[in-house]
């Protein structure tokens, strides 16, 4: 393999690792394409190591290389990516101040700032944007936790609230009303309510909340035991919970206390059992109609 082709392959593989498969697929040279794909296959086993190994040497793509002569820009970029620690760790106070000022400006329009400094790779940008979004979501969950714990002590049970909030059964009814009415949260829309059979005698209800006003999401989880599956109803907070809770009751047998009309919704009233529990067994007959057992005759 000539050094030239090797370089091309490395370049392509790096691109592919960043999600740009097109450049490999668009190669006209079949041999080169297959080689590149083989290299990519190897590289995918440990992409980070591969990047470490080649990126600095062969491709002048790294930010630090680019902006060595302009420390402020590189710091601002890092700051935009959420890495504030490095900025705070700058010893030179003047430089730190300048960086922070630039960061404030940049944050007003991060995209154009990045465009300006020449980060034109669209794929990478979207990844960064995605990360930004996660940041916001994290912060909203943490904010809810902070606010909720102030008002209702011990209402949030989990420490790591990155993805969801595990809410205590007792405080749910008051917390739900708070989530809806509090101005800074204002979760006015219950997007989805899912019932879960976690196994080991645990049932769970998950609420996906969304605020039309602030456009942020959160997920609430509440766990109950199978022996006493009762959760306070939020039907009066979000009207749609009426049907969602009835459906969860229908499917998993979680009883929602305070619901005005707790009946089965999808299955007939005289149906036996809770179908979505993992240990569900279908009844033999329904009004004289024989229900064939599952997994019989056809597999």
């Amino acid at each position: 393999m000539s050094p030239d082709t090797e370089k091309i392959i490395i370049e392509l593989v790096l691109k592919a690792l960043n999600g740009d498969m097109d450049s490999i697929n668009n190669l006209d040279d079949r041999v080169l394409r297959s080689k590149a794909k083989a290299a990519l296959f190897k590289a995918k086993k440990d992409p980070d190591a591969y990047r470490e190994k080649y990126s600095k040497s062969s491709i002048p793509n790294d930010n630090e290389n680019n902006f060595k002569n302009d420390p402020i820009t590189s710091y601002v970029l890092k700051g935009l990516d959420g890495d504030m620690d490095q900025i705070n760790a700058i010893e030179d106070r003047v430089l730190r101040g300048k960086v922070k000022a630039a960061l404030v400006k940049a944050k007003k329009d991060p995209k154009s700032f990045k465009m300006q400094v020449g980060l034109k790779e669209v794929k990478k940008q979207t990844i960064e944007l995605d990360e930004e979004k996660v940041d916001i979501e994290e912060s909203i969950n943490q904010r809810i936790k902070k606010l909720a714990l102030e008002k209702f002590p011990q209402s949030i049970l989990n420490d790591d609230v990155e993805k969801f909030l595990l809410v205590d059964l007792k405080s749910w009814s008051s917390l739900s009303a708070y989530l809806k009415t509090e101005e800074s949260l204002f979760f006015d829309s219950l997007q989805c309510q899912t019932g879960f059979d976690l196994g080991e005698g645990l049932l769970e209800a998950r609420y996906n909340l969304h605020s039309m006003k602030h456009d942020h999401y959160t997920e609430i989880r509440i766990q109950v035991t199978k022996d006493n599956p009762r959760i306070p109803s939020v039907e009066e907070v979000w009207r749609i919970a009426d049907w969602f809770e009835r459906e969860t009751y229908d499917m998993l047998g979680i009883h929602f206390d305070g619901h005005r009309d707790m009946r089965r919704i999808l299955l007939p009233d005289d149906w036996e059992g809770w179908p979505l529990r993992k240990d569900y067994d279908v009844q033999e007959t329904y009004h004289g109609i024989v229900i064939p057992k599952m997994k019989e005759g056809w597999e």
Binding site: L266, L267, P268, W271, P275, Y280, V282, Y286, H287, I289, V290, I291, P292, M294, K295, W298
Partner: protein, 163 residues
Amino acid sequence: MGLLENKFNDNIIVEKLDKLLSWSRSTSPWFFQFGTACCAIEMMAAAASRHDLMRIGMIPRSSPRQADVMIVAGTVTMKMALRVKKLYEQMADPKYVVAMGSCATSGGPYWQHGYHVLKGVDIVIPVDVYVPGCPPRPEALIEGLLKLQEQILEERPLTRKMA
């Protein structure tokens, strides 16, 4: 069955009358709009402009009393099964049933894990023609209905001589 059925011996007049009756029945099988699921859309498509069930004399009726053919278009569930039976019983004789789509014939894709799905509408009501497919194309439905018409045409309601 009606007043006239099976009350006559075979003779030339009865034979002709017989043929006339079965002709009229096979020529104007009004169908009952009974769509339950996906297949109902294909049934509608079959009745609509491009395929036009009216070409073969099929006119939609929404009351079971006035319909001759019940096209069970779609999945029948346990909750619905008893109602299907009731609707079938409300239809006036002679009545025919076409099971449209694999759900109505056998439960279709919901056979294995569909605890709430009736595995074939023939468990509750007698079916004359099965139209397979998920969903069957309108052409397939029309083919099934033509088969039904053939079947009706060969019936002899007065003498009950099955051809």
